[in-house]
Amino acid sequence: MRLPPFAYERPRDLYEALELLNTFGKDCRVLAGGTDLLVRMKQGLATPSRLISLKDLPELATINESDGFLNIGTAVKLADILAYEPIQYRWPGLLEAVKSVGAPSIQHFSGTIGGNLCQDNRCQFYNQSKFFRQARQTCNKAGGNTCFAWKGGSDKCHSICQSDSAPILIAMDARITIKSKNESRTIPLEELYSSVGERPLTLADDEMLTEIHVPGPVPGAGCAFEKLTYRSSIDYAVVSAGAYVQTDGSKTVNARLIIGAVARGPLAIAAVEKTLKDRTAGDEEAIDQAGREAMNAAEAFIANNITQPVEYRTQMVSVITKRALSRATKRALSHTDVSEAK
């Protein structure tokens, strides 16, 4: 498969990159690892006339800790996150999520954290070759007006957000810095996602995600990421879940659960916090109930957009939720003093 023609820019600093974005807007796209963008370009799903490479911008490829936050540049390779030692015991949930992306030879040189968060939504009827798509009408996401993933059709696009790092990072309350030529803003990560299938990110055409800020671990809190796939690598998630549980040593005081791969954006299940709050941490009945609630909340969003049946995915939301919450709780109870945890 050949790539369509485009112009290639390799800015020497961030300002030059942002200026290019400002000048060319939606005609150009930022190229980080390329494992999402280049595939879509080969399939004719993305047609930028210009690519801006982040290869020469080392300022976007650093990991550091300051003011209690882990700061990860947008162009940091997934393999570099795995190799960053403190993540092993301080952010194990993030480690699980990053490890589960693609395969080692995609994580190593190519895949970046910013690219994982900013990847386009997917659907089994959309992410296909031109030849495949020609057999049907054009769907909402491709600029037409129908949806094959929704029973009876729909005027909205029902593609899904397949980022593995988004659910866990949102559960951990991560923030992101977005820059354009004239502006810089730091917002909660969940605000990056619009829940609009046709245009899943809230980034303006001249904006770029530049940094992710992950809060450091709190004593008595734990997080975990769970992903269901048919094969151990390459596969996109059937269902994924990021869980954050905070305890006072015996009771749950705070909990967040984000389900991935079922809705147009990462799906926050608000009911889970109410259910687990003030209950004994690790109480099986409470976690069972949280699983049912997540399933009920997610059911309304699940469309026929990946090959696995809708009914199966709905049931699995409950299972994956319970696994993620149980492991996060276990970590919360064993990490009562983070400074000593190693």
Partner: protein
């Protein structure tokens, strides 16, 4: 589209080339330099048969722009054998019957080489994990993992 220049070291040899921006590293290797060891299977990063080493790390050359590889050291399967002698991995693949149709082999070798450069004492689990993004449609996985394991074992014996 205008060609842009790039400097690259492939299998220890320096090249100064001019390529179009939409040329992938794989197309450049195969079509311009006639290094046809790396194969195009899926062309979208799913199968692993186009894997080459870039600065010692395995990458999908079908999803890497040639221009993005500028300034790097690239090793393809052609660069594994040194001074007319097969790399221990290549010899082990032959000895274990780890090659069936052969299409995935160069990718498997480069994936395994990348792992052993990073961790010469990798265990079976790590080998399976690092080759997990490589598809062998002949399903010869067991022999492939055994071949890599045997290289790890014999390097231990030598020490």
């Amino acid at each position: 589209m205008n060609k842009q220049s790039l400097e690259i070291i492939i299998n220890g040899e320096k090249y100064s080339l001019a390529v179009e921006p939409n040329r992938t590293l794989l197309e450049m290797l195969r079509d311009d330099l006639e290094l046809t060891g790396a194969k195009e299977g899926c062309g979208e990063g799913v199968c692993g048969s186009c894997t080459v080493l870039m600065d010692g790390k395995p990458v999908r050359s079908c999803l890497t722009l040639a221009l993005e590889a500028s300034g790097s050291h690239v090793t393809t399967v052609e660069g594994l054998a040194q001074h007319g002698e097969l790399d221990p991995l290549q010899q082990s693949f032959i000895d274990h019957g780890a090659v069936q149709c052969g299409f995935c082999t160069s990718g498997m070798l480069m994936g395994a080489k990348g792992l052993l450069l990073e961790n010469p004492h990798a265990g079976a689990k790590e080998i399976r994990n690092s080759l997990s993004g490589h598809i062998c449609r002949c399903t010869g996985y067991t022999k492939i993992v055994e071949a890599v394991e045997s290289v790890v074992e014999s390097s231990k014996e030598k020490r």
